[in-house]
């Protein structure tokens, strides 16, 4: 299979990740649940993983690195910590349902800071107009999961700092690919999956919490600390980690993060951008294919969308699947992003790469799209 759906999950993982998951199932029990060797080893692994993440994202303190099930889980905690029922928030026009659905559930008054695809200056202008003191939160993804469009997160963070509005960053498509300095950005929360650019197993996620930011629990239960007290501990990470940890996941995530740090963000980003640029260039040569990609390699990550004029996006996805090429089609759980790009009715075919893809695979993918269109 040629796997081009790494924006959903990086299916191919480093060998060390798989080995760590397997080893964890044999050696690690549950952190904070005992003083015996397997429990203490589990706690050691969890702390080492938090520390690696703290260093990668400049989180300041490993105890502010909380494990979640996925980015959606972290975003729900972040949003529900800051936005009360009927509260107010500003979001970009490229958000995922992981952001818009929790806001809808809260009945929040949401302002969309809109702007054309690949025009970060328009997005920034919109945020400049919309962000006012007193707003409950600004929520913005770093990179669009549909188009790979990199939003001007540093400038948006600066606006939020100036106007004293808490910022939640969704790093689902940038964690492990683009640098993020949490302390310098001054964000309230940074949410990310562990299973995409960080190469951990599915079922892992991370929420980095700002200093002195109020944190609301989504789950209450055992934490292995302050057991006599019926309220959840007021300190992190325990406050956000009720119940048994996903130790195989955390052990795998630790090796994924180590893999990313060894390879280097700049190298990973370059490899992925190069492959995406090759795919974009190849698709542009095909007649009747609309390619949503930047000419500037630096404004996009390893994610791009395309749409054939003469074929439904789902049919193209099915035809590629029959030929053993995995892509994602439709709305990618991001109707707002498609609305902003004018593709809400059609959806798109999304191609997203990881460091495990090769140039040969990209050539084969483009040739296959050409063959599908020619023979349709």
């Amino acid at each position: 299979m040629i796997y081009l759906d790494s924006a959903a999950t990086s299916f191919q993982k480093p060998a060390a990740v798989q080995a760590a998951v397997s080893r964890a199932m044999e050696e690690l029990s549950s952190p904070g649940r005992g003083g015996y060797d397997a429990a203490m080893k589990a706690a050691e692994t969890a702390l080492t993983c938090r520390t690696e993440l703290q260093e990668l994202f400049h989180a300041g303190d490993p105890e502010r690195v909380a494990f979640t099930m996925n980015a959606t889980h972290g975003l729900n905690i972040a949003i529900k910590s800051l936005v009360p029922s009927g509260g107010s928030a500003v979001v970009s026009g490229y958000e995922h349902n992981a952001v818009t659905r929790p806001l809808a559930a809260l009945g929040a008054k949401v302002t969309v800071a809109s702007g054309c695809l690949f025009h970060p200056e328009q997005i920034l202008d919109s945020f400049d107009r919309a962000v006012r003191p007193g707003l409950d939160a600004v929520i913005c993804n770093h990179v669009s999961n549909v188009f790979g469009f990199t939003l001007p997160i540093e400038q948006i963070a600066e606006l939020c700092r100036e106007r004293k509005v808490p910022l939640i960053i969704d790093a689902s498509q940038s964690a492990g690919i683009l640098p993020l300095n949490f302390e310098a950005l001054g964000a309230a929360f940074l949410a990310m999956p562990g299973h995409k650019g960080l190469y951990g197993p599915q079922g892992t996620g991370v929420l980095i919490c700002g200093r002195d930011v109020p944190v609301r629990t989504l789950l209450e239960g055992g934490t292995g600390s302050l057991s006599m007290q019926q309220e959840m501990p007021d300190f992190l990470p325990d406050r956000l980690e009720a119940g048994t940890h996903n130790m195989p996941g955390i052990a795998g995530l630790l090796e994924g993060v180590r893999f990313v740090r060894r390879r280097g963000l700049a190298s990973i980003c370059w490899e992925e951008r190069t492959l995406a640029a090759m795919a974009a260039e190849g698709l542009r040569q095909l007649r009747g294919v609309q390619v949503f990609a930047q000419n500037d390699l630096y404004a996009q990550t390893g994610v791009l969308s395309f749409l054939p004029d003469s074929m439904d996006a789902e049919k193209m996805g099915a035809a590629l699947s029959e030929r053993n090429i995995a892509v994602r089609t439709g709305l990618h759980c991001a109707p707002l992003a498609h609305k902003s790009a004018g593709t809400l009715k059609t959806g798109t075919v999304r191609v997203s790469v990881s460091v495990f893809n090769t140039k040969k695979e990209i050539f084969q993918f483009v040739d296959t799209v050409e063959e599908i269109l020619r023979t349709a």
């Binding site: 904070g32 702390l47 490993p62 105890e63 600390s225 007290q229 501990p233 325990d238």
Partner: protein, 84 residues
């Protein structure tokens, strides 16, 4: 054997304390806190440290923002809380 127990708020903090001490060349051991010391709180973890190292240990943990929530001295007459 006489020792001190630096009670941490969580296993994460206990292990951070142990690592901070280790970086400074001091030996601390993380263990569960005896129930008789956790009345009113429930389960906690503690870092066990030799009396000769306790002063330096507290300096290091405080520097790193890892203040113990309580300190106990374990002597011939059992545990005795020490003022922070």
């Amino acid at each position: 054997m006489e020792h001190y127990l630096l009670i941490a708020r969580s296993v994460t903090q206990a292990q951070r304390m142990e690592r901070a001490l280790s970086r400074a060349g001091l030996r601390g051991t993380v263990s569960r806190t005896p129930m008789e010391l956790t009345e009113g709180k429930g389960c906690t973890y503690a870092v066990k440290i030799a009396p000769s190292a306790v002063e330096a240990a507290l300096q290091i943990t405080n520097q790193d923002g890892l203040q113990p929530v309580q300190i106990f001295f374990a002597g011939p007459n059992g545990y005795q809380e020490v003022a922070l």
